[in-house]
């Protein structure tokens, strides 16, 4: 059974002190996590005591100002970052869409990028070949599929990434803000796709500033502020 449980998860970024000529005083910021110093290093507390539970069929919308920790939380869920504290338990095959420059090769064609993406998610060449036409159809990229990825617009890249990730049927899908880049007709299709995925007892976590999108797609809403959970409804 697909599920996600986070218990008191925190994450700290450690930055190496860089030599600077001027040392401006600290200003309190309404954005971002909390900046602190530990020894010679600066640290940013990006997540602080985050706990929640998701079960099959849940669609969670992550909201909060820039720097609230949304991307960081998604990366912790995906397993890119090991949390500095707390525990996570996840059951289900996870896939994630972060941004266009991540996990795609600009020089390679869209078609080739689909193959690479599939291989990275652990699919065999045959399985990818089988899904190829479906992915291309869903993305509506047509002949652009054989052009290098760097020739795509943001929205086109979003279509391809979304089509590839969802056709390969993850049980848990994590999506960062940029997925909103697609146009209205694509958003509509994407919404249907996400409904299907959730019906198949999957879990979706979507970070966005677009309240309407969250309203349309999600069943739960988690508000983050400075790395802490402000509300969960």
């Amino acid at each position: 059974m697909t599920s996600i449980t986070l218990n008191n998860v925190s994450l700290v970024y450690r930055l190496f002190e860089k030599l600077t000529l001027s040392a401006p005083g600290r200003r309190r910021s309404a954005l971002g996590g909390n900046i602190a110093k530990s020894g010679t290093k600066q640290v940013v507390q990006a997540l602080d005591g985050v706990s929640f539970e998701l079960k099959a069929g849940d669609r969670l919308g992550l909201v909060g100002p820039n720097g609230a920790g949304k991307t960081t939380l998604l990366k912790v869920l995906y397993g890119i970052y090991q949390p500095s504290g707390g525990t996570i338990s996840i059951t289900g095959k996870v896939d994630a869409l972060f941004n266009i420059h991540i996990g795609f090769r600009p020089e390679a064609t869209g078609r080739r990028n689909i193959v690479l993406r599939g291989l990275i998610s652990g699919w065999t060449a045959a399985e990818i070949e089988e899904k190829m036409e479906e992915i291309i159809d869903f993305s509506e990229l047509g002949d652009f599929i054989d052009l290098p990825f760097k020739a795509y617009s943001q929205g086109m890249a979003a279509r391809l990434a979304f089509a590839a990730a969802t056709t390969l049927e993850p049980e848990i899908l994590l999506m960062d803000e940029w997925i909103g880049a697609g146009d209205a007709s694509f958003q509509e299709k994407a919404k249907r796709r996400m409904d299907e995925l959730a019906e198949k007892a999957g879990i979706i976590v979507l970070a966005s500033h677009d309240d309407a999108l969250i309203q349309r797609v999600c069943t739960k809403k988690l508000t983050l502020r400075a790395g802490r959970v402000e509300s969960l409804a």
Partner: protein
Amino acid sequence: MAAKDNAPEQRIAILPAMIAALNGAFDDISKAMRLHRVWIALAHEDIGDQHRRTTLGPLWMLVNYFAFVGTFAFVFVTKDASNPSYIAYVAIGMLVWFYLTETITMSVSLFQREASFIQGTTLPLFVYVMRLTMQCIIRAGYSLAGCVLILLLGGYGINTNWLLSLVGLLLLILATPAFVVVFAFLGAFFPDSEFIVGNLMRVGMFFTPVFWVYSGQEGIQEYAYNWNPFTYFLEGVREPITTGIFPGHALAVTGYFCLGLWAIALLLLGLYRKRIVFLI
């Protein structure tokens, strides 16, 4: 007093930590091996990129190689170049040296170059290590073809000595992933090392018997010959062909060096692989 009491416990605690690190490293490696399709595909992409951007593509490796071997063979014409065995000496020396230099200098910036994949996917780090290893081997294949051509033209017919040389090549290939891991971590922890290592490798050619022949001179050359691990990598491949002797000593030194290097590589991978994403 208290510190003294703690000492044995600390020593005991190190062992489980080492074992945990090694387990982590083997886990990373075995996952990467299951994903072999990924690094093979990515290495092909790398070679393909070079083809797309330039007319000759990886063939530039071959041109570069011929240029170097040719230059050294003719600059040192007064001394040895009339002697075909010197040309073979330089040809094999350059082949191995180019391979090592390329591998090491590219390793230092490996994690930096792979930042987008490391920050966006959960692939084991060893996938990137194998990708670079594979890419370096493919590229060296072009120089190898050039080297074989030079040897054949120089009158070194294919014989059983070439088989002995293969042992040295095999050790070199086995050592490659360990070289990559060690220098990639070095580059991630100390970004400055990219420039230091780059310069050292450039200078290193003059402190390694790539084009000069060691015949018992004293002083710097003696140290450079005996205390330089690269010497043994070179001689392990070269001696069988130029002298026809089985390079037992060179292979033994290379073998021990590989073991040491792999031990360091496994520890680094085991202890720090989860930290890399925060460092790039």
